[in-house]
Structures are given as C-alpha cells and as structure tokens.
Symmetry: D2
Subunit: 307 residues, 4 copies
Amino acid sequence: MEGPVFIENISDSFSVSSGITQVYHTRKSKFQTIHVVETIPWGKCLILDGHLQSSERDEFVYHENLVHPVLLSHPNPKTVFIGGGGEGSTLREILRHKTVEKVVMVDIDAECVDVSKKFLVHHHAGAYEDPRVHVIIDDAKAWLENNDEKFDIIVQDLCDPVDDTPSQLLYTQKYYETCKSRLNPGGSLVTQGGPAGVTSHSMVFTAIHCTLASVFPRVQSWKTAIPSYVDEWGWSIASTNADFDVANMSAAQIDKLIEERIKNGAEALKWYDGEIHSGMYKLPKNIRKTLEAEKRVITEDNLLFIP
Amino acid sequence: MEGPVFIENISDSFSVSSGITQVYHTRKSKFQTIHVVETIPWGKCLILDGHLQSSERDEFVYHENLVHPVLLSHPNPKTVFIGGGGEGSTLREILRHKTVEKVVMVDIDAECVDVSKKFLVHHHAGAYEDPRVHVIIDDAKAWLENNDEKFDIIVQDLCDPVDDTPSQLLYTQKYYETCKSRLNPGGSLVTQGGPAGVTSHSMVFTAIHCTLASVFPRVQSWKTAIPSYVDEWGWSIASTNADFDVANMSAAQIDKLIEERIKNGAEALKWYDGEIHSGMYKLPKNIRKTLEAEKRVITEDNLLFIP
Amino acid sequence: MEGPVFIENISDSFSVSSGITQVYHTRKSKFQTIHVVETIPWGKCLILDGHLQSSERDEFVYHENLVHPVLLSHPNPKTVFIGGGGEGSTLREILRHKTVEKVVMVDIDAECVDVSKKFLVHHHAGAYEDPRVHVIIDDAKAWLENNDEKFDIIVQDLCDPVDDTPSQLLYTQKYYETCKSRLNPGGSLVTQGGPAGVTSHSMVFTAIHCTLASVFPRVQSWKTAIPSYVDEWGWSIASTNADFDVANMSAAQIDKLIEERIKNGAEALKWYDGEIHSGMYKLPKNIRKTLEAEKRVITEDNLLFIP
Amino acid sequence: MEGPVFIENISDSFSVSSGITQVYHTRKSKFQTIHVVETIPWGKCLILDGHLQSSERDEFVYHENLVHPVLLSHPNPKTVFIGGGGEGSTLREILRHKTVEKVVMVDIDAECVDVSKKFLVHHHAGAYEDPRVHVIIDDAKAWLENNDEKFDIIVQDLCDPVDDTPSQLLYTQKYYETCKSRLNPGGSLVTQGGPAGVTSHSMVFTAIHCTLASVFPRVQSWKTAIPSYVDEWGWSIASTNADFDVANMSAAQIDKLIEERIKNGAEALKWYDGEIHSGMYKLPKNIRKTLEAEKRVITEDNLLFIP
C-alpha cells in the first residue's frame, strides 16, 4: 500500500491499514481521541482511541444485531435506555420500532455526539431530530445511579473495555446490578460483548456473559462477523425473565414481528430476518466449551480488559 | 507496530500486518512465491503469493468446514480426490474418516508440498505417511482430464482465483463438468469459495455457487469466519444427487455420524459438530439476496477473479 | 504507529510512513496523482505519484541548493527558465535575486500549479504574483523546441526520472542539447539529480552528470541530505563556459555576492552561505569513484529510470 | 510493500519499513531487545531496542567517521578504549592503525557481543581474534570509575541516549569528566552524537557538543548522512589539547597519514580520505546557528533523551 492510510493496532502484534481519502476530524476530546475519516474499503468511519467503531459500509450488521433481537424478544418495548451510542446508529434502529415511545441516550462525550451529528449523517440518518429521543451528556453509570427512571430495554452501545477508558466500569457486576434495578418487569439488557471469534472469544466475551449470568436469571449470547472489525463480534442479552428464550424464537415468529412492529417491515432491514435469526445462536464447539467453563465475573475490584 | 512483521495486502486499499519471529522459508517456486513464517498472532503460517493460506492457530476451522460436511453427507465415502491441498491439513482431516480407503491428492507445486512436509508438521500431522494417500505433482485439471478414475468425493482445496495463477481454471464450468464426470453416482464435490463476508461475498463466492449450479443438480453453500483471513470464508457442496440436502441434516444425525465414522469421534474435532452444523447454512438476508440474484457463470472465456 | 499516516514507497523494499492530520487534496490529474497532506514530522507536503516532492519543514534545503549556487556563479543572471517547478518554491528563491528581470516557468500540469497556489502558500510565498513571472502550461521540452527565446539560466526542477512519467525525456542528451542552444553565452543549467547518497548515487545521479558532460564543456555536481527525502540529494550545474568553477568559489566570495545580489542579503537564506558552499562540493571517496568511472549517457533510445 | 518487513519507529510519527528475508536472531537480552535480520535494502542488520544500529551495506560510513579522524588527528595513538562497540566494526577500523598496541572494549551486554560474533562476521571481520583486543563485559562508566588505566583515545560507540537504557548516563558531563581523567596528555575522545540533520540536530547533537565543551578545552563536530539511519548523523571529537584542530587538517595531510599509519593505506577505506575530510566540518547555516546558541549541558540530574 501507499498514499494516505489509517492504521489500527488490533493488538501489539496485529494491525490493519485502510486507504483513506479524507480526514474529516482528528482531535482529542476530554475523554478520547476522535477521528472521522473517509476510507476506501469501508467508507466513512468513526474511530475512537484508534479503534474503528463504525463504518458506513457495514455498521448495519452491528446495529441490527444490537437492537432488533432484544426489542423483538420483548413483548412490548416502550422505553429504551442507551448507554453510549453517540454516533446515532443505535438510535436510528431503535426508532424503527413502532412500540417505542421514549429513548434516553446517555453518552459521556459531548464532542463525540457533536462530531457524529456533523459528519455521520449516513449513520444517524436524522435520528437526533426524533421527538422520542432524549440525549444526556453524562456517564451512563452515574446517571443510572442518580435517577430512578425505569426502562423496558437497556442497550449497552459502548467501546470495548480497555484500561483507563470511561467504558471500563460499564461491564461490571455492580453496573449490571444497577441496570437490573432500572429495568421494568420482563425487561432485558443487551450489550455488545467485544471480539468473539474462534481465537478471540476468551478475551472478554465469555467473561461478560458470565458476569451478566451472575446478576440476571437468563443470559443468551451470539456472535456475527463484522468485516471492518476484522473479527467476529459478540452480543449478550440478559433478561429479568427466567423463561426468556430469544435463541429459540422461530424464523416465522421473527418475520411476523418484523412486519408488525418495524416501520416499513422487512424492507427496513438489510441483514437481520427470521432466517439468520434461526441459525445465529448456534456457536462452534470450541466457543461453547469456553463459555461453559467460564468462571470470571468482572467486578470493580477485578476489572478485565482487552490486552 | 515495530520490529519484524508480515504484511498481507488483502486488496489495493486494505492490508494487515502480523508480528513475526522467524522466516522459515522465502522463495519463488516455479508457480508461486512461498513463505513460511512464525507469526505472533497466528503461529506458523503458510503464505502463497503474499496471501495467508493456513495458520497454525485457526486452520482447523477452514479444514473442518472443507472436509467433514461433505464426507458425512455422503452415505459411504471410500475414495477422495483432492485438487491442491499441498499443506496436508486437508489430508489429515480426510484420513480421520474410517470409510476412506484411498485419497488421491494432485497439487501442481512440488516445492510447496516439500516445504509443507518440512515445516508444517502441525498442519499435516504425518498425513503424508498414511498408506491410503497418493500424492501426484500435476495440474489437477490436466490430471482429471487424462485419467478416468472415479471418486466418491472431490475436494477443491485451492488458492483463490487470481489472474495468472494456476488455480484460475479450477473454478470454471468446464472444470466442474470434468469433475462431475469423475464422480461415482451420488458423489459430491466441495470447494472453498473465497471471501464470503457481508461486504465481500459478491466478488467470487456467489458466482462460484452459480457456476456449480449450472453443472450439478444440487448446490448448497455456507460461510464461516476465519480470523487469520480477516473475513468470513465460503464453501459450496455440489452433489450429483438432486435430493442431496446437507443443510437440513439434524444436529443429532451429524453427531451420530461423527461417532460412527470419525476415528476418536467428537474428540477429534475442535470446531465442527451437530450444534454448529444446524445453524451454519443460515445466511444473512443481504447475502441470500445476492445469491438469489446471481447470474454469473464462470467459463474459460469469461474468467472471474478476486480484484 | 497508528492513526492516519502517509506511506511512501521509496523502492520495492523500503517505505516510510509519516503521521498525518489532514488530507487537503487527493486527485489524479491528467499527468499524475497529486496529494497535499499535513504531516506531523514534515508539515504540509506536496506528493506527486506517491513521492514526496516538497515538505514545509525542509524544502528550503532543496530550493536553496537548486537556485543560489547557479545564480551566484553567473556574472549577471537576468533571465531564467524553469522546467517544472509547479509548487512555486523555486520561483520564490529565484525572485530574491535582484538581477533577475524575467522568469519563464513551464510546467506541464495546470492542476498541480493550481493546487500549489491554493494550498502551498508557505512554499510559493506569493511568488506567482510577481510581475517578473510568466507561467506557461506546457511540456518544457516541447516549449523549448518551439520557442527560440534565450535565457541566462535554466533550472530543471523536475520529478525524478521514472518510467512513463512526463519528466523521463527531460534528463536526456537531446534535451540538454536543446537547453544548451537556448542559453545565452556564459549561461548555465542546473538540474536536480535524484538520490545521491552513498548507496543510491549510481541509480541516476552519476549518469545525469555524465550525460550533461557529453553536451556541456563543464559540469560540477554535489549532494546534500534532505531529511524528508530520507536520502541525500544530488544537483549538477552545467555551464557553457569551459572555465566555469562554482566549486572553487570561496566562502568570502559567496557571502559577498549574497549581500550584493539577494534581497535582504544573508537574512533571506536559512541553509546556504559561504561556509557550507566551501565544503559541499567535496564528495566521499566511493561516490567520486563511481562518478569517475561513469560512462552512461542517457538518450531517448536508452532512457534511465529510478527502479 | 508486502511480505516480511522490519518496521523501525524513528519517532512517534515517522517510521521506516525494510523488506526482510531472514530473522537470524530475535531475543530480549538482560539489557535490550536484539534483532539480527537480513534486509533487502541494507543487507544484514543489527537492531537494538527496535533501532537499526548497523547495516552491512553502509556501516562503513559510520565506522570510518567514528574512528579515523580521531586516530589520525592524534600524534601517535597506542591505546584505545571503546565504550560499547559490541558489533565489532569499530574494533575492525581501529585495528587498521599500525600505531595501536592495545584496545580495551567495554560493552555491557554479553549477549549482544556473542550474537555479533556469531552473525555479524562481515561487520567484525575477525577483529575479536586480534591479540591487541581486550573485551570486558561491564558498564563502561563503572569500569572507567573502577580502573585507573589511561588511554590515548576513547571511542564512544553507543546507542543513542534514550530513557531507561544503559547508555543514558554515558552522555553526561560527569561521565565526560571521568573520561578526561582517563586520557593521556594530548588524548581525545570521540562520540557518536545522534541525529544531526537539518531538522533533527537540536534533539541531542548540539547538546552533546555543548556538554563536551563544558569539560574539554576543544570540541569539534561534524555530520554525515547514513542512508540506513534515514538521517544525517553527528560526531564530536573532544581533545585535552586546546590547540587541537582536526577540522583544519588539509586533504594532503590526511592522505599522507592514511598511507603511513593505516594497513594497506587508502585501499583499506571506502568512504574517508583527504578530499571528504576537507569539506565535512563545514556545517550549514542553520545548524551552526543552533550550535552557537546551544546552552544545554547534560548532567545526571538533567538528562536529555531522544523523544
């Protein structure tokens, strides 16, 4: 390669380089370094502290996974809390749900929200203008602790747990207990779970699952490849309902709910539908083994990070 | 990153760099540049013409996908032909099947086979010593055209179709017709199908499926993420049997066959089993749409390449 | 390194990467790919066909070497022709000379001139506004062949000779003959001579010297390190005067001429003065040996390129 | 670029990558990470803590600069102390001097010396076998403090001053005072002085000069481009003799001394001779200005590092 590129260090010994044509924004905010760049392979990208968060070309995979299974598996989700989510794509997907009446999004970094509003129009698609949306600039943990408002759904749309970053305390047992106390009966929490590939799932994905399982009666996890993340990514849904079973909802059920609850029905979604839903909770043998053997519970005294 | 690394250009505008600690082999053979390097993230790797073919750390995912579904979905596979396969891992997996009596492997590059025997002991695990194995150094296409031996299974374990490489003619309609004529009744062909991620599947994966479908009565395709390939990878099984249906074999059926037919049963496999089998043929909506709309049939006059 | 960088491939097996914060311009003109980027180590840079031409931080070294020795060693330079020079820094340095009455600059790429005027204000420093300057968009070779105007000084401010680029014919014996015929009596030509370090001088530097010596009675060459070029760079002055001897002008002579002829005198220059002049024509032994043994004359039938 | 490369981070925002074909050695010794690699552009290289120290292709430039001016400007150098020098090339050049009767080399890292003996045969060229050579594994500073042996010449062949490395205390006023006390009357010390290019000379080069000048009556400095260092490099000779003047020795004097004192005379040297000597002490204006204005004296309480 030659010319302008963006280098992301995935680990100490693995990096990826994408050709770029523009640097829209490059600045250290109060909390993180924010880059918005136009890449050749992935289109416009938001990059926080050097790690690609969202690419124009494949962010739909991440956001459809994060939002639709948790909302469609709830009987009637009216109120949603988003921890993080500054770029606005999570908002965009949530607002497709006709049942949703109110979304409270708490992101710590005003500059990240502003930069996203300005440059990531493809990503938020105007979601910030929707009257159901309430954006609060605060630490999600502090806000939940200081407010007793309850929600049907909590969506954790965060950076990965990395040492000395604001998100590190948002993957702990204590935080999940706070979340549980802020869910209405039958409510669910979904979190992104970090790298979940055959060689990366034991870094944090299985420990996040295990930590959720120490707080909630029911946790189900899955993974999906995100090309611009150069790995598979994990998600976990934790429910307050012990009989909750998103993984065994049938393709027909999901497709019916998409038509009923999502504005413009199946037309609105690019990646997710009943067919893929019916296969995506099946994990390969080696990941199932790690998940079954996992004992790590992440606590504030015993944090866990991506190395 | 700093120090010694291996850079792979995935495309003109996307590359990956892996830290290395050894260069075991670096030479241009008659057909391709062959590197064997010790990488930090992926262990020992075989790299042909700059593209990582097989990493010690995750090759099991590729080879279990390539070999076990096609063999277990055949009623009694005794004879197997491998096109390519020089590194020996495909041999290793095939030889686990107790039904298999003879494997003919035809690889064009003697140097690649020799280098693999010498350095990739983890990969072939001694498979070359098995008396069932017959290694022939030749072009797979030429050999099949010049020999009328028939097989129960044909395994296409090739480099991706890239312009001016020996494998470019091994993804064509004409080649698949030759293969079909060398299969015993009820026989199947499996091929690796190149990148099959949400943003890469239309390069060659869906066209390979479509080309197979122009020759065989039944084709079924799936994909799996391979971390060291930094993408999901595709496979297609083409059967001479119109009622063939690997995709709908149940988890229980697969697990029973693994116990019956594979030496040491489930113990022998790391990634594949009935559970993952029962989900892996479900493709996301956007890939299914491309596959359904695909009309490209690859012919010798109209070759298709990874750009 | 991580984040946005600019990668320049110096050769097939050597590249340099500079952190960047902005991409001001990135476009393929009719003749070349033009990048203007803000780099962290070198400030704002003009990059043509992937090769850094001029960096804000050290372009003064290149341009003071290119312009002042040739002008100060001429008794009274009034008219100057520039072949190439689009970025405007060569103009800037020439215009410091009070004797100069007219500068004709012929650059082939209007887009490069426009981009430079717009983004490289530091470089041209308003030189394009000077009434002595005449900018012509044309091939320097064609223009000189089609016009019989004569000059005191010809300055070759070109990209390196690279295959299939417009500058490849501007380093040939025939072109130098044309130049010689367009010089007034006693006139000199100066050209940049490409990489001239201890390991790179035999690529083109010594051959350019030898080619000039096949046309002009007197040629003197020197080299200077340019940090952003990651090598030493060469220059050659060819004079129509057999007694010409820039290399043996004394420090005192040079300093006196700087005060007399250059606007603001020594104040105006950052790198060049009598002291450095008095050492810079001394070449190390191995380069002198190559220069003495050099027999290559570059002709249109026998072009020479940087590999 | 693609395939195996070695990446050197020159600074936080500038790196260079060289194609490699072999990794001969890669290990963290007690003091530093040691790599010996075969590079395509520079041949076999020794790399310490990620920084190229010596390349087969151009190490002669560094070592001829380090050794010959200081030895030829001494009336009769019989005894030499080397601080550092593990790779053996400095030994090789010193041993060419017929006057030299004893060389004491003190390098802190036995592993580095052993690796050099084993892999860098081109570099040391058998110097370690010469009976005049005494190799001691110790910290040069500690050894000089604990021994009162005196020398005619001290050669500082060290890694650059970088924080938390063993060489950081070998560029201080205190260390130079120790060195001065271990020089015979009329003796000189030479040190490599780090990057000395037009944009890099103020990092440490001018401060090292200034520190030496706070201890010795006479200091003279120069610079030379080293291609594999991607910059010009500095050297300083500090003499106990106030009338010392290496910079003004004539070309003829140098050439005569080379014939008299160096085994095989001018034949033995590739880069250095009277001609280049007579120009190399002339510095460009901007570096002279920095040098004249420099006030920084490096002390143990006020260390100075390359950032």
